[in-house]
Symmetry: C2
Subunit: 385 residues, 2 copies
DNA sequence: ATTGGCACTCACTCGCCCCGAGTGCCAGGA
DNA sequence: TCCTGGCACTCGGGGCGAGTGAGTGCCAAT
């Protein structure tokens, strides 16, 4: 008996992945970590048997991903040298089906992996496929040409979509994780001030503030003090530091300072509403045969910022791949799609997530390799900026 | 004989469209304006006949748009009181087909409008359908809640997609058409200056400039003089005015001033690369029956900024609707789609375009009404800002 | 445990026929 | 000159049935 695995797994990726070393961490909340999953209860059966069954599952996944057609026992032994006869494979297949890893569309058809089967494949039967050096240098060249943050993000999303040939999703560096580089105050009129917040990730947010009229000198003073107070600080630290900021100023300026501080906090808090950019939607149509009636719901889901953010998931460590398969995405309309995401960041610190969405029958090793490589390069680019 | 019409038409829309007053202006370049198109050569035939034929065409378009199925002569006389028999209609249909306004998918099927047929319908057989007052107030309420330019645009695109149930495209107010509200210089370090350009349409563009080190005082002086020179001016006027700007400064500051001016011009020129926002892509799937294999090319086209910009077309006057039908879009992949666009702007001046893309078999009057209404409201919102 | 053999299942394809919507044409009537 | 009813014709699409073949599960033998 093969013990079912957890639904959601996180794979730590290294520059140089050693085979067999992909580890599975982060058990689901509430579920105690129980060590490495075993292939099967080790008490009774011949371990070789389980090893072959897993090999069969891997072969099924690979063939199915390649051909998009249910795979039968005969074709399997022909294409992979499993060293046994089709009949034996059939037995294994029956067992795998019993345990829910594969499924038979109809009686006289071959087998198709289930979500659970893909899960096992991703967790135990495949390694992240490193990109070719040509691909790496292409990534480098393409991302290196970016001129500002917007450009980095838009190039990244195009790049991801192109090399994975799937739908790419990239989140803007989250404001709350970045630090203040500079705050600028511009008096458009005496009673209308523009507040510009510049972060070290290159984001620039601005907002107009209506106040009681204040003098140029006051504005300059405010600017200097505000920068002294929060420049270089994490955005998350800002609220605490500006708490009693207004106390430094004479009474007549308090209202103006208060509205400015309020606006500043608003920018920081409200903009936690993260921006997400999409690309490669057209790639969905390549799978029309796969989910003929599912493309609608998928497009709908992709239009919802909230859904995208949830798919990207909570911020994980940089270079940490997360894979969600089919129903694991948590959305009915996405039951035929999988999502591969990774954190990216600077200085080893994750600032946001990026990833790819495609059919459950995707090339997981390749996709994971691409996502992780792109995440790493984007991090480097941000470091340079 | 009915004289073929021009391919691309522009319809001026009024708040209160008088029936029969939709006019057709702007002949194609190089093609001399030849007055109002006639229904037919007036020398021989009974004008009533042509009127009926046009009525038949209108009925065909309406029924086809409603049912999505080829419409036959019998069904036509049943659903519209044309006062004649099916046989007569068949004759008219044959004539209309002869002239290329309708088309027969196969011998034993009803008729379907051609692009040319839709063209005639849009130009002569329909009026822009005003929105219901409920819709109007919904638009007003929804757009009125916007807090900044980004918000206005993103709300607009969602709104358009929702009320037309098609794919919405909105262009950001073009920089070159706006005026400078303020230029801000922020010395991040002595040799790194941030240039922020604020326009009266609410756009904020920024860029970092590396220079030789300059003093705070110089920066302040630069800022003051620069604003004096270009604040309130059209972006398109800026290049001319900053031409000999550096001459005002002592020699040692010239390099810094030069790089700043260069950066400023770059922002203005480069950002002519207009931004376009999409929404409602999922609505495409509602028409899968229409263009089953065309959805792929359409999605591809939508991913190309350049294509979108071309579809939106050159900036036209505000409240001027443009309709491009099928092949008129100029893209092979969009031969089954039509595009309805309108300029929008402030102070009666167009700053950008917005519009909607859908199948050629769309509800033109309704779509045109929605696009024109939204364009008008967006203009008003911008005026208030 | 593995294997070859065997009977069985069942989705899919192809050919066939039939139906009916829709047409074009024509001759007679307004 | 235009309209109309009648009529023969076309042809896409649905329904039906047989044939095909990939794939299976089971079983007895090794």
């Amino acid at each position: 008996m093969i013990r079912p695995l957890r639904e959601r797994e996180v794979v730590g990726v290294r520059e140089d992945p050693r085979p067999g070393d992909t580890r599975f961490s982060e058990p689901r909340p509430g579920e105690p970590r129980s060590g490495e999953p075993r292939l099967a209860d080790s008490r009774v059966e011949d371990p070789r048997l389980d090893r072959r069954r897993l090999e069969v599952l891997r072969a099924i996944v690979q063939d199915y991903v390649a051909t998009q057609e249910p795979v039968g026992s005969k074709a399997l032994v022909e294409r992979h040298n499993l060293g046994v006869s089709p009949a034996t494979i059939r037995n294994d297949m029956a067992a795998l089906e019993e345990e829910g890893y594969i499924h038979q569309p109809h009686t006289s058809a071959g087998r198709v992996p289930t979500d659970k089967g893909y899960r096992l494949f991703v967790d135990r039967l495949s390694n992240v496929k490193p990109l070719s050096s040509a691909e790496r240098s292409a990534i480098h060249a393409f991302l290196g040409g970016a001129v500002d943050l917007d450009d980095v993000i838009s190039r990244t999303v195009r790049l991801l979509a192109q090399i994975t040939r799937q739908v790419a999703v990239v989140q803007y560096p989250s404001l709350s994780r970045s630090a203040v580089r500079h705050v600028e105050l511009v008096a458009i009129t005496p009673s209308r001030i523009m507040l510009v917040l510049i972060t070290d990730t290159g984001r620039v947010e601005q907002r107009f503030v209506e106040t009681i009229p204040v003098s140029e000198a006051t504005v300059a003073d405010l600017r200097a003090r505000l920068n002294a107070l929060i420049a270089g600080r994490r955005l998350s630290d800002v609220p605490g530091r500006v708490d009693d900021f207004a106390d430094q100023f004479p009474h007549e300026d308090r209202p103006a300072v208060d509205s400015l501080v309020a606006a500043l906090l608003e920018v920081i808090v409200e903009q936690r509403e993260e921006r997400v950019v999409l690309g490669g939607t057209a790639n969905l149509t390549r799978f029309r045969q796969d989910f003929p009636d599912t493309i609608g719901p998928v497009l709908e889901a992709l239009e919802e910022q909230m859904v995208l953010l949830k798919l990207l998931g909570e911020t994980t460590g940089p270079s940490t791949l997360t894979v969600r398969i089919g129903h694991e995405t948590g959305y009915e309309g996405l039951s035929a799609t999988s999502v591969v995401t990774s954190g990216y960041g600077r200085d080893g610190d994750t600032v946001a997530q990026l990833g790819v969405l495609g059919p459950t029958r995707m090339d997981y090793p390749g996709t994971m390799g691409a996502v992780s490589a792109v995440a790493r390069y984007v991090g480097r680019i941000l470091d340079q900026a």
